[in-house]
Subunit: 213 residues, 2 copies
């Protein structure tokens, strides 16, 4: 397998965690997003969206979208699993992951921040408020849900890491990097600490990647 | 089952299609987004995100996030299936769905358009350009991917509807409603027409819902 990666991409970070968790190794190819390498014709031929991550499976199939890649890794390498038993439990885990992946992350990625600045001429201060607004709103809803639900354990769902944690941890890393006040989210921080105590999560951290700056 | 729904929510529209496709009926509860009913304390107690759809399963579990709900319906009612055979094929279907659900839809939903207008004081004209920009960018990438891939058939994947079509059709409905120029996307339009010829899709259209205005 070959992973097209960028150390600061939180979507790529999710896939790095999942690969580590499942004990899989992938050859790494680095796409420098700040240098716009994702817009190179060669990369666009691979992934017309021009996003990382992309995973080229051993038979040559190109997989895109981090959550689809992780579901694929789960189906092809089911042990250890990133999903709990039971359809309702799996729905809960997927919903937590999607809350981050659909309702927080897309509003704050590089292309959106660039559009706000370059096209709408939003000031840096207002761009910063925008960023924090969506992170805060999304994490606040998650904190309520996780804190009140007896299904929450050491991790987002029970006492084993799942897809929900795989997606939550990179989002919290972004929140820290952009100085979002995370003190109102003790449940999320407790889960983050439990995750980062595991090598699968810790070794996937942006600062430890070969392309880190 | 009970579906919390709003006729114009494209995330709810996805779930309506999936329920129809699987021959399932759910009691309907309508949450009027333009009247901010999703911020009522009663609804927030059910879904702290304050979004539709939410599906209350027969055993009382509250499910949120349209894609997680549809995966749950697939697991609990596998026939007819909204997924093809084979892990790589399922990854392709999920990736197409996520391209819409993560990379187009979240940038253009009501709360974001409101923030642009009320907080950033973006003009109506610039808000319209924002909307069309993200729809166009997302659909253009999808058009390339679907047009060039022999896995595309009558529908996004082969000759049976899948999760990919379930997510694509409501996004195209939004594009039409906001007068996005869709002529550069003949493959998407061909697939949309094939879907809307099926009762499962056609009967889920916003204008046909009991709460339609």
């Amino acid at each position: 397998m070959r992973l097209y990666d960028y150390f600061r991409s939180s979507a790529a970070y999710r896939v790095r965690i999942a690969l580590n968790f499942k004990g899989l190794t992938a050859e790494r190819a680095f796409v420098h997003l700040r240098r716009d390498e994702q817009r190179d014709a060669g990369y666009l031929a691979l992934n017309p969206q021009g996003f990382v991550p992309a995973l080229v499976a051993d038979e040559g199939t190109v997989l895109t979208q981090s959550l689809a890649i992780i579901e694929y890794l789960e189906e092809t390498h089911p042990h250890p699993s990133l999903f709990p038993h039971g359809a309702a439990a799996r729905a809960r885990v997927r919903a937590i992951a999607l809350e981050v992946a659909c309702d927080i992350h897309p509003l704050n990625n590089l292309r959106v921040l660039k559009y706000l600045k370059d096209t709408l001429h939003v000031s840096d201060a207002d761009k910063d408020i925008w960023y924090k607004h969506w992170v805060h709103e999304g994490l606040a809803a998650l904190e309520i849900q996780l804190a009140r639900d007896p299904a929450t354990g050491t991790f987002c769902h029970g006492n084993a890491p799942s897809l929900a944690d795989v997606v939550l941890v990179p989002q919290l890393a972004n929140a820290h990097r952009f100085n979002v006040d995370v003190t109102p989210f003790p449940t999320l921080l407790r889960i983050e600490a439990a995750c980062l105590a595991l090598p699968a999560f810790a070794l996937a951290e942006p600062s430890l990647q070969p392309d880190a700056e």
